[in-house]
């Protein structure tokens, strides 16, 4: 977990992959390949393209993620908005940034999901009741995980 100067939080996952950057890029950007590891949907790596990904529905969440492609640098960088809406109309809007760094015999792939703003205090103080919705959304996220993801915490 990284906390930025603005107080928003990010999740970073980074991994070395023993595959050429070109191939990793294809898996990240070609719709039918994306469907096989992320979620099925109409993803296309075109700036401005709006897409919808669908995971199996879980209680309180229809499993739908909506996104918009913001940046495409072939074999280098891919950025999209990541937006989910729960049954109660609660929304979570973040940014997902993929970065490929070619290294010897492969590539280091980095994913950063940024912009979680649960503790933006002005939001709490305002009339918006954003945070209970955030909680509701969190519950849905948890519910969509395999059980082992929540163990040992």
């Amino acid at each position: 977990m990284i906390t930025s100067a603005a107080g928003t939080r990010s999740i970073v996952v980074e991994r070395y992959l023993a595959h050429p950057a070109q191939k990793v890029w294809r898996a990240l950007t070609e719709g039918d390949l994306v469907a096989q590891w992320l979620m099925p949907g109409d993803f296309r790596a075109v700036v401005g393209h709006r897409f919808t990904l669908r995971a199996p529905a879980v209680p309180n969440w229809n499993g739908v993620t909506e996104g918009e492609v913001l940046e495409v640098v072939p074999c280098g960088r891919l950025v999209y908005r990541w937006h989910t809406t729960g049954a109660a109309g609660d929304e979570l809007s973040t940014l997902v940034t993929w970065t490929l760094q070619p290294v010897e015999e492969g590539v280091v792939l980095r994913m950063e999901q940024s912009g979680f703003r649960p503790q933006d205090e002005p939001n709490f103080r305002g009339a918006t009741q954003g945070w209970p919705r955030f909680l509701a959304r969190l519950e849905q996220v948890i519910a969509s995980f395999p059980p082992e993801a929540t163990e040992g915490r």
Partner: protein
């Protein structure tokens, strides 16, 4: 994990304390209006003072409010920091992505070069 108060409170306990709509209403009210005493909270909540006190006790146990005695009255205030354990739950999204990375790696192994 430690927060301002030095207490370690599991996120489930924070969630449980906020799951009750009346209790959540009390917490939101304190968030918006600042410090209040039990009588003022009772007048607004439309439930008995005993029930309000009990709810405040639960919120206090979850680290979401704290009380400040003044004479015979106790003034309660919300503690936004009490939400911190929930924020750390975001990490669970990390588990989601790690699982997706595993699947991506499996796919790359299956793909033609």
């Amino acid at each position: 994990m430690r927060y301002g108060s030095g207490q370690v409170i599991p996120p489930t306990e924070v969630l449980r304390s906020l799951a009750d709509p009346t209790r959540r209403g009390l917490f939101e009210h304190l968030m918006r209006e600042g410090e209040q005493n039990v009588r003022a909270l009772t007048e607004r909540a439309g439930i008995s003072q005993a029930a309000v006190s009990k709810h405040l006790g639960v919120l206090k146990g979850a680290g979401l409010v704290h009380g400040r005695p003044q004479g015979r009255m106790v003034h309660y205030a919300a503690d936004p920091q009490g939400l911190a354990p929930l924020i750390d739950w975001i990490e669970l999204y990390g588990a989601f992505w790690r699982e997706r990375f595993d699947r991506l790696e499996g796919l790359l192994d299956r793909m033609d070069p």
